[in-house]
C-alpha cells in the first residue's frame, strides 16, 4: 500500500533568540530565516519602528507579507506613521501592500486623512483615496465629498467618485453634480457621475 503514516514531530528552538538576534536575522540571505525573525518581531510592540524601516528595504515578498500582517495586528499610530511614506514609493507592490494595511486601521488612519489628501503629488492623493475606498470609517463619505468638491486634479476626483458610488449617500449628489460642472469638458466624468448617482439612489 502506498499510504504511510509518520507522526509529525514538533520542531522547537532549543534556546529562544532574543530581540537583537531576531533583528540580526532580518539581514539573513535566507528568506525563511527572515520570515521567522519578522514573525517573532511582530509580536514585540517596540519592534514596530525596526519592522517599518526594514519593510522599505526588504526584497522578499513573503517576508514583506509577514511584516505587514504583524503591523496590521499592532495597528498603532506608530505603524501608520511608518506606512504612510510608502504611499509615495516607486515599488508598486510595496505601495499596494501599504494601502491594504492602512485600510485595516480606520481609527489610526483617521487623524492623517486631511494631510494625506493635501499631499502635493496627485498620485499620492489617488493612493490616499484608494485607502479611503475600503476604509471602515463613518467619515469616509465626507472625506470623499471634500475631494470631489475641492481637488484640482481630475484623476484624483475620478478615484473619489468611484469610491463614492459605493460609499456615498444621497446627500453627496449635489457635490457630484458640482464635479460634473467643474470638469464639464471631460466626458468620462459626466458619464461616471451619472452612473454614481444611479448607484447611490439605488435605481
Amino acid at each position: 500500500m502506498a499510504l504511510v503514516r509518520r507522526n509529525v514531530v514538533a520542531t522547537a528552538d532549543d534556546v529562544p533568540p532574543d530581540r537583537d538576534d531576531w533583528i540580526a536575522d532580518l539581514t539573513s540571505g535566507d528568506a525563511s530565516i527572515r520570515r521567522r525573525a519578522a514573525r517573532a518581531l511582530s509580536r514585540m510592540p517596540d519592534a514596530v519602528p525596526v519592522l517599518c524601516t526594514h519593510l522599505a528595504n526588504e526584497p522578499g515578498l513573503s517576508v514583506r507579507s509577514i511584516i505587514l500582517t504583524g503591523l496590521i495586528v499592532h495597528r498603532s499610530a506608530a505603524v501608520v506613521n511608518g506606512l504612510l511614506p510608502l504611499l509615495a514609493s516607486e515599488d508598486a507592490n510595496l505601495r499596494n501592500s501599504a494601502i491594504e494595511a492602512l485600510q485595516q486601521m480606520p481609527d489610526e488612519v483617521a487623524p492623517h486623512v486631511e494631510s494625506m489628501l493635501a499631499h502635493p503629488d496627485s498620485d499620492v492623493r489617488i493612493f490616499a483615496v484608494d485607502v479611503l475606498a475600503a476604509l471602515a470609517h463613518p467619515m469616509v463619505p465626507e472625506w470623499l465629498r471634500r475631494v470631489v468638491t475641492n481637488d484640482p486634479h481630475v484623476n484624483v476626483c475620478a478615484a473619489a467618485l468611484d469610491a463614492l458610488a459605493e460609499a456615498g449617500e444621497p446627500d453627496v449628489i449635489p457635490a457630484l453634480q458640482g464635479l460634473a460642472e467643474r470638469f464639464s469638458d471631460v466626458a468620462f466624468i459626466r458619464f461616471a457621475v451619472d452612473a454614481a448617482i444611479r448607484r447611490i439612489r439605488g435605481r
Binding site: 499510504l3 459605493e166 448607484r199 439605488g202
Partner: protein, 285 residues
C-alpha cells in the same frame, strides 16, 4: 369596496444588488451573478430583519462602515452554508491526481514521501477521500510513499474521524463499489471505513492560528484547506496563509474551497490550473 392591502415587503433593487455584489466580491472573492439575486437577497433581508434595518441602504452602511466587521462576518456565514461528505468538490481531487501529484512526483528523486495535509479535517471525510481517490485514480500510487495528515481544532470531531463511522448522507457521492471496497457495515450506525485507511491517516488536534502548532508541519506538499478561511477575519486569514507558506515545501500547493480566492488574502502564491481547478502554488524558490 375594500382594496386589498399589499403587505409591506423589503425589496432590494437591481442597482442595490449590483452595488452589494461588487462590494461582497471585493471583500470575499465570492461573486453572485444575477441568477443568484434571490438566494443572496433572501439572506440579506434575513440579516436586515435581525438588525431592524428598514432599508437596504441602512444595512449596507452597517456592513460597509462597521469597524469590527462583525455583521459582515455574520452575512458571510449566512451565504456559505457548509456540510462535509466524501468526494466533496471532487474536481480538486481530479486536479490532485491528474496534475499536482504527477508534477510533485516527477521532481522527487530523494525518496521523501509526498505529504498531504487536510486542515480542517472535521470528521475525516476529506483525508479519507484523498486516500481513496489516490488509490483508485493515481496510477503511480504504489511507486511513492504518501503521508496524509488531518488536523482540526475540535477534539470531539477528531475522535469521530479516528473512529471512521459514517451515515448514508456522508457516502452519497461514493460509487457502490468503493463503499464495498473500503467500508464495512456497522449495525444501526452506518458504515465504518477500513482499518487500513484508518491507520494510514495521522490525525492531530490544533489551531491554525497557533504558531506553535503550525511549526509542527514542515515539508508539506499539498494542503487542503477548504471552506475554513472564509469564516476568519482578514487578519487571521493572512496569518494562517503566511504560516501555511512556511509549512509547504517549495513548489507545494494549497487547495481552497470553491468560494474562496487566494487573491483576496495574499499574493504569495501563484494560481495554477490543474484539470478544471484553480489551485495555489508556493514558488519553487
Amino acid at each position: 369596496m375594500t382594496m386589498p392591502v399589499a403587505q409591506t415587503e423589503t425589496v432590494i433593487s437591481d442597482e442595490e444588488f449590483a452595488k452589494f455584489r461588487e462590494f461582497f466580491y471585493r471583500k470575499t472573492g465570492i461573486m453572485f451573478d444575477a441568477q443568484k439575486k434571490y438566494f443572496a437577497g433572501r439572506r440579506i433581508i434575513d440579516r436586515m430583519d435581525k438588525l431592524g434595518c428598514a432599508t437596504f441602504r441602512e444595512y449596507f452602511a452597517t456592513i460597509r462602515f462597521e469597524a469590527s466587521g462583525d455583521e459582515m462576518q455574520r452575512l458571510v456565514n449566512q451565504m456559505t452554508v457548509n456540510e462535509t461528505y466524501f468526494f466533496r468538490e471532487d474536481y480538486q481531487l481530479k486536479a490532485l491526481v491528474a496534475g499536482i501529484l504527477p508534477e510533485l512526483a516527477a521532481g522527487r528523486n530523494d525518496g521523501r514521501p509526498i505529504r498531504l495535509w487536510s486542515v480542517p479535517c472535521s470528521s475525516g471525510e476529506e483525508p479519507y477521500s484523498l486516500a481513496i481517490y489516490i488509490l483508485e485514480h493515481w496510477p503511480d500510487a504504489d511507486r511513492h510513499d504518501i503521508e496524509i495528515l488531518g488536523s482540526d481544532i475540535d477534539s470531539a470531531i477528531l475522535a469521530e474521524a479516528a473512529t471512521g463511522v459514517y451515515g448514508e448522507r456522508s457516502l452519497q457521492r461514493l460509487p457502490p463499489e468503493l463503499i464495498r471496497r473500503y467500508f464495512s457495515r456497522v449495525k444501526d450506525r452506518g458504515y465504518r471505513i477500513s482499518e487500513d485507511l484508518r491507520r494510514s491517516i495521522d490525525f492531530s488536534q490544533g489551531n491554525v492560528v497557533d504558531p506553535q502548532f503550525m511549526r509542527r508541519f514542515r515539508d508539506v506538499d499539498v494542503i487542503f484547506c477548504r471552506n475554513m478561511l472564509i469564516y476568519f477575519d482578514d487578519r487571521s486569514r493572512r496569518e494562517t496563509i503566511e504560516a501555511m507558506y512556511d509549512c509547504l515545501s517549495p513548489g507545494g500547493y494549497i487547495c481552497l474551497g470553491h468560494s474562496e480566492s487566494m487573491s483576496r488574502i495574499s499574493s504569495l502564491f501563484q494560481p495554477r490550473k490543474h484539470a478544471d481547478s484553480i489551485v495555489y502554488q508556493k514558488p519553487s524558490r
